[in-house]
């Protein structure tokens, strides 16, 4: 099993502990609250991920073969989801990011956030992370 798959399995087993929506979302919200995020002055408009109903800023840089992401959101659940996503995809090689199959999203019951519904920006975030990584292949 590769490293991103191992982290995803870890996330899945954490979520298996929750029996209801409240536990699950409280956990996501806590992840959002604990997530470092970005300073206000770093939240530049050009970093906004298009397609999210809440604002999501995503900044990447490439150093020593590794992608580093910083992100933030004005919505707490979205921020928690970004935190989960970056748990899996941050500080990885571009190839590993592009090849990652994000199976954990469906397993932890967040698949609805992947729909084409305009209120959900998870798909847009993943696309942005992957397209940023692609530039450094």
């Amino acid at each position: 099993m590769n490293f991103t798959a191992a982290i995803q399995e870890e996330i899945i087993s954490e979520f298996e502990l929750f029996d209801d929506w409240m536990d699950k979302y409280s956990y996501i919200i806590d992840l959002g609250k604990e997530f470092g995020g970005m300073l206000d002055r770093e939240k530049k408009d050009h970093l906004l991920v298009k397609g999210c109903q809440s604002k999501v800023w995503l900044k990447s840089d490439f150093n020593a073969g590794i992608m580093n992401f910083k992100a933030d959101s004005d919505a707490m659940i979205t921020k928690g989801i970004v935190a989960l996503l970056l748990k899996v995809l941050n500080q990885k090689a571009p190839r590993e990011i592009l090849d990652a199959d994000l199976f954990f999203i469906e397993k932890i019951g967040l698949k609805a956030h992947l729909s084409m519904n305009r209120s959900n920006g998870l798909m847009a975030m993943i696309q942005r992370i992957k397209s940023d990584a692609e530039k450094h292949l």
Binding site: Y25, S26, I29, S54, K55, M76
Partner: protein
């Protein structure tokens, strides 16, 4: 009028979807401004038509085509009487309000608008009553003038009057704001415009489900609405237009049914309303729209308004008691729509957690970005009620909302 509560229970049984559970919670459908649910009679009409009477209309000599044509044209007559139009041929079927507005924006402007002319819209408009005018204005070199709102969401009529110059070729505004629920004084606006011989288009998408509309009494030149917000199928809308304007403006789409004769040298167009109905329409949808209107007429607007006012007032009072909650759109004349935010919490977060408990609300800009900019807010939650909603649902909603606020605080 029967006892309200018993009556509502019976009404709810007419809507199969209302007994669904979402995420193990009973569905509470508060997204009626986006689209209303369908009574069984509408679903049955659709299904019956496809099962027993389906074929193309207006062109076949055969039995089924005749039945379909009769049913389709019976819908047009039903809509004529529903909105009080003078002639059935003033009722043009479109795919929805959006297409109806686009039709007028394109065809009216082609006939009447020239470089430097003005088109008046308002800050309250849905994108579908902004962008079509911008597209036409760009093409013909016209200028869009916008009537601003007051803090309570009502229109600045003084500014409107000052914008009514002889450069204005058309005024386009909504009857009821989809985001705020504010009811606009359209009769007064139409009167003021007509004093200067300026025609008015009313976007009635939000209005037709809440009260009776009489286009002749209003003297509206164009009135647009959608079936799906009036308990009917999706993909069907109506453009009502005064005969004189519909005759004067050119067709917007070319194709079958909208022509009299086609020669490569010259084609002559069909009479109203067919001139504007190119191609095979949403036959089943139009036919089932009649069932929806009959259903609404049977319930009656007296009951609908009473129930919706009750829900609006009850919910407004309950929500105002929540600390940090702000309601947008507090004008006196309001339909059963409440847009709100809770201080320090993103509407998306609240919407997501409410969804987990079976509550269907809308969050975001509600296709009215300029309005939200004017209100100085990024997004709101919107609860919009229909006559099939209940006080009990509002009570459960307020409890759920308080729980969400606690989780997110």
């Amino acid at each position: 009028m029967p006892d309200l509560l018993t009556h509502i229970d019976a009404i709810r049984e007419d809507f199969p979807i209302l007994s669904k559970t979402i995420n193990k919670y009973p569905l509470v459908y508060f997204d009626n401004a986006a689209s209303t649910q369908k009574p069984k009679v509408v679903i049955d009409t659709l299904s019956e038509y496809y099962k027993n009477s389906y074929s193309n209309i207006h062109r076949g000599v055969h039995h089924l085509s005749q039945i379909g044509t009769d049913l389709y044209e019976a819908s047009r007559k039903k809509i004529q009487s529903f909105i009080g139009a003078k002639h059935a041929h003033e009722v043009v079927f479109t795919s929805g309000t959006t297409e109806a507005i686009n039709l007028v924006a394109q065809s009216f402007c082609k006939k009447y608008v020239q470089k430097g002319d003005h088109i008046i819209i308002t800050e309250l408009e849905h994108h579908s009553n902004i962008v079509p005018w911008q597209m036409a204005a760009e093409h013909y070199g016209a200028i869009i003038k916008v009537v601003p709102i007051k803090p309570d969401g009502s229109l600045h009529l003084d500014v409107f009057k000052s914008l009514l110059t002889n450069k204005v070729k058309i005024v386009a505004l909504n009857h009821i704001s989809n985001t705020l629920g504010v009811v606009n004084p359209i009769k007064e606006i139409i009167d003021l415009s007509h004093q200067k011989n300026i025609p008015v288009l009313i976007d009635g998408a939000q209005a037709v489900a809440h009260g009776s509309v009489d286009v002749q009494d209003l003297d509206a030149d164009f009135y647009c609405f959608s079936a799906h917000k009036l308990f009917g199928p999706t993909g069907v809308g109506v453009l009502y237009g005064k005969e004189k304007y519909l005759n004067a403006i050119p067709p917007y789409k070319g194709g079958g049914d909208m022509i009299k004769t086609v020669k490569f040298e010259q084609t002559t167009y069909n009479d109203l309303p067919f001139k504007f109905e190119a191609g095979t329409p949403n036959i089943a949808g139009v036919i089932a729209f009649k069932s929806a209107i009959e259903y609404v007429e049977n319930i009656g607007f007296a009951f609908i308004q009473k129930q919706e006012d009750l829900l609006l007032n009850y919910a407004t009072t309950a929500l105002e008691n929540i600390e940090g909650l702000t309601i947008y759109g507090t004008a006196k004349q309001k339909a059963s729509v409440i847009s709100f935010t809770v201080k320090g919490i993103h509407p998306y977060d609240l919407g997501t957690l409410l969804d987990q408990q079976g509550f269907a609300l809308r969050t975001g800009k509600h296709c009215t970005e300029p309005l939200l900019d004017a209100l100085g807010v990024d997004s709101t939650l919107r609860a919009s009620f229909s006559f099939y909603n209940t006080i009990d649902e509002i009570d459960r909603f307020v409890t759920a909302l308080n729980k969400c606020i606690t989780i997110l605080a």
